[in-house]
Subunit: 318 residues, 2 copies
């Protein structure tokens, strides 16, 4: 029987999404399991394998799975390991994830990379970056991740950990504390958490009226909703966030001269408020030869499928 | 007869160095012509071809030249053109340099890239980066250039102009004016001109005693000589320069996870004063996973040969 299907798995801090995908990018069957029910990797892998076997049976895909692609925080493409992932209780050390999962799945090959690299591969295979050979994927979620594609290949670097643009420095002096231990990282300002923090800081610092004042706990989604209502403070938060992104994008362009920067993730939904300040700050900070030449593209992938598609795209290369 | 030799040409603002190189990297014959005697490209190419034919005859290399590699400011690998090079009077617009030179040289193929990319290829073929597949070359000369190597290939990007790390932002607010038109660029602080400027600014701003005060016009070489004499202000200038370099290197590492950053160019001779502050600032600003893992390497190539070797290395790929 032809091995004409792949499995994509997106491992997040709370849930892991799994799907069976055909060559056209159609998700034939999918399921979700909790990522946070276990503190060691073996029982998590056992539960994951059970869930995969279930959807394989459901889709009539026995014997047709060519490979499994996994996107995971701190996933290393070269070694198939997940290392020191703060949000995964079973991966605080170094776990041989690809090897263990392959063993549990009767030897089906498993390819693994970090979630942002998987998203970049997905976007190149099925999404907004189809046909592009040089682009940078920026994922704006709980954190800020990145996947860099040069000449059609994801950049893994010397050690497999390349593409940590969320931890480049956006604010050099007296920058915000980042989860990584450094200060001033892009992620500390432009992640969902960073946006909520900006709003909270500004509410505290000023008396400016804002519908956000009535809320107990402010999330980036609240800021987005307020901006849609025309709330001035919320709109300024997105201006500020977009400016910092655009300033850093100018530096990234000087590195790899991409044709586009592709934005993906929950916060990228706020594109009507982010696009302009990003473009403006980028154009102000980039060498004149690139002014107006690098596109800002927002992901076109259906959010619920995107993570699975991204991971599955890895498996076709196996 | 075997085509077992190549020619390397390094075009600078004042002089162009040319050499015939064998496969081991031995420079068999070399010559230098002025780059600044002409305001249009054709007579410059004619003079260059004459000089090349002269050293070909001198080395008995007629019929043995496989290709010509050229490193030039604003050289584009994809198109073989030099575009808007402010320091070359005959290339203020766009000149088809590779095509014109090949025509003048009876069809010998010509490959062209910017000078920093050429230096990176040279370092990988003959120098400190032999055996490395992932490194970043930083040239500290009149300006700050860069050549980025990923998986053994120079990164040219979508348009052929990738690797302009000298024009990433080192100082975000109220930064120094850079020649490129932007402010706060790495080049404005860490080039030879930037170092001299730092010294002049600090002399003006303070009463600190320094042997540099007796000089009319201060160059980076003067600052280096003063530092060797133990001059405290000069030593602080190198500390400052090294810190800015190290801070930016941390960002570059987050991009491509190289195994080393290789420093080349006139200012890299001050390695005894730059190495420590670079390493310290880099380690303070890099994600913990890279702390202490990325080498800072100073070029081992003999300065007089290095530029020719770098350009010549390009020609082997033809």
């Amino acid at each position: 029987m032809a091995k004409d299907l792949v499995i994509g798995i997106d491992i997040g801090g709370q849930t892991s999404k799994c799907g069976i995908v055909d060559a056209r990018g159609t998700v034939l069957a999918q399921t979700v399991i909790r990522s946070d029910n276990h503190t060691t990797v073996e029982p998590f892998i056992a539960e994951l394998a059970e869930a995969l076997n279930h959807i394989i049976a459901e889709a009539g895909a026995e014997g047709r799975i060519r490979g499994i692609g996994v996107g995971a925080p701190n996933g290393n493409y070269y070694t198939g390991t997940i290392e020191c992932a703060p949000n995964l209780a079973w991966a605080h050390d170094r776990v041989e994830f690809a090897k263990l999962l392959s063993e549990q799945m009767n030897g089906i090959p498993v390819s693994l990379t970090n979630d942002a690299n998987a998203a970049a591969v997905g976007e190149m295979t099925y999404g907004a970056a189809r046909g592009m050979k040089n682009f940078i994927m920026i994922t704006l979620g709980t954190g800020v991740g990145s996947g860099i594609v040069i000449d059609g290949n994801v950049v893994y670097g010397h050690d497999g950990f390349a593409g940590e643009l969320g931890h480049t420095t956006a604010v050099r002096h007296n920058g915000r504390q980042c989860n990584c231990g450094k200060t001033g990282c892009l992620e500390a300002y432009c992640s969902a958490i960073g946006v909520a923090r900006t709003a909270r800081e500004w509410l505290e610092m000023s008396d400016e009226p804002s519908e956000l004042r009535s809320l107990d706990k402010i999330t980036s989604k609240d800021v987005y909703e307020a901006a849609k209502d025309g709330d001035k403070l919320a709109l300024k938060v997105f201006d500020f966030t977009g400016r910092i992104l655009g300033e850093k994008f100018a530096d990234f362009i000087a590195f790899s001269a991409p044709e586009a920067i592709v934005l993906f993730g929950g916060l990228a939904r706020a594109k009507e408020f982010l696009r302009e300040p990003i473009q403006k700050a980028m154009d102000e900070n980039v060498l004149s030869l690139w002014k107006g030449k690098v596109q800002i593209v927002f992901s076109q992938l259906k959010e619920s499928d995107a993570a699975i598609l991204g991971a599955s795209a890895l498996a076709w290369e196996l």
